[in-house]
Symmetry: C2
């Protein structure tokens, strides 16, 4: 199978961390794709008509997306029942944590589009403020959750880790650790896992 990939995407990073946690690295080929919210890449939209990565192309040609679907497929393929716990409170907690991290990222990325991609004279401070309010609200929830997050990784904690790592990558000025000691301590430990340390976001080499 083949993963359409970019080293800057936090949603791709979720999949890459899951691949490492599951020991599947030698079964997934990685192919760079220059996904853009503005320009549709023919090699991508043929597989995912939404024009987004990650997309996982299976050997029979079927393409899976988005990141929650790909991650759950990989866990099932590896016979793992820890990253996606079976139906029950642990599963709903992990999936809601995933939605929290993905939602934080959606807001942070929406604001990147606003402040980096949109022509300067068309930017709207009210939109930026609304997105950052979502980010801060999600961060405060992570701070409240941190003391009770499970020690073993789940799709929930992996997503929260990728979300916080994205803020370090793109929003260093936000100082998200300030006033959030529990989240900061949790992240420092979690981010040292090989699956996280080996997948930190980076600009693509020229």
């Amino acid at each position: 199978m083949k993963l359409l990939h970019a080293p800057t995407s936090p949603f791709v990073r979720k999949v890459m961390a899951v691949i490492r946690e599951l020991g599947l690295a030698d079964r997934v080929a990685i192919e760079f794709n220059p996904a853009s919210p503005l320009q549709r890449d023919p090699a991508l939209v043929e597989h995912n008509p939404l024009g987004k990565i990650p997309a996982l192309i299976l050997d029979d040609g079927i393409t899976l997306f988005d990141s929650p679907v790909i991650c759950e497929y990989l866990a099932a393929t590896a016979g793992d029942a820890a990253l996606f716990p079976p139906a029950g409170p642990a599963r709903w907690a992990a999936l809601t944590q995933q939605a929290l991290g993905d939602g934080l990222l959606d807001a942070a990325i929406a604001n990147r589009y606003e402040t980096v991609m949109r022509p300067q004279e068309l930017r709207w401070a009210g939109w930026t403020e609304a997105q950052l309010a979502k980010v801060r609200g999600a961060l405060d929830r992570i701070e409240a959750l941190a003391p009770s997050l499970p020690a073993t990784p789940t799709i929930g904690t992996i997503t929260l880790g990728c979300a916080l790592g994205y803020l370090d990558f793109r929003y260093a000025d936000l100082n998200w650790r300030e006033g959030r000691p529990a989240a900061a301590a949790w992240f420092d430990a979690f981010d040292a896992r090989p699956s996280m340390a080996e997948t930190r976001p980076r600009e693509r080499a020229a």
Copy 2:
């Protein structure tokens, strides 16, 4: 349990259709919430710090979000294994169809924010075009999928139905049926299901 709800939201509609398919209507209280992407509602963000609906507040006070998580929880609670098939090709197909429908909706709603909510002088035609390209790409994929969509509802087909219903509600001018006869025929039949007919989007009564 209690569902935070608005009659215009296609993501809330997914949950409402699932509730009906599962026969859970008498177990879920419905409470209107004026969720807005710009103004944070304290009664909402206490439960979902992202400020989004649907959010499902369980009897023990735990809140589940977003719509995929809530729908899967409800199916598991009802002991249903049809809306979310067990791990295997039917599950990955249904979940990717859900991501396709949710992604169509994300693009359509992003463009609503652009064209309805954003101050007129700050609108960017390039953004609108990019979102509509995603919508059209997703529609073309639905057209290709339509002949092989399962006869029994899944979270995939319910989401696709809610996505197409949203276009009828907010994007009548798009004429999405034009050139997509298979999707149109599939939708006409699916939309007649009681779970869909009873949940069509509408403006809230004043």
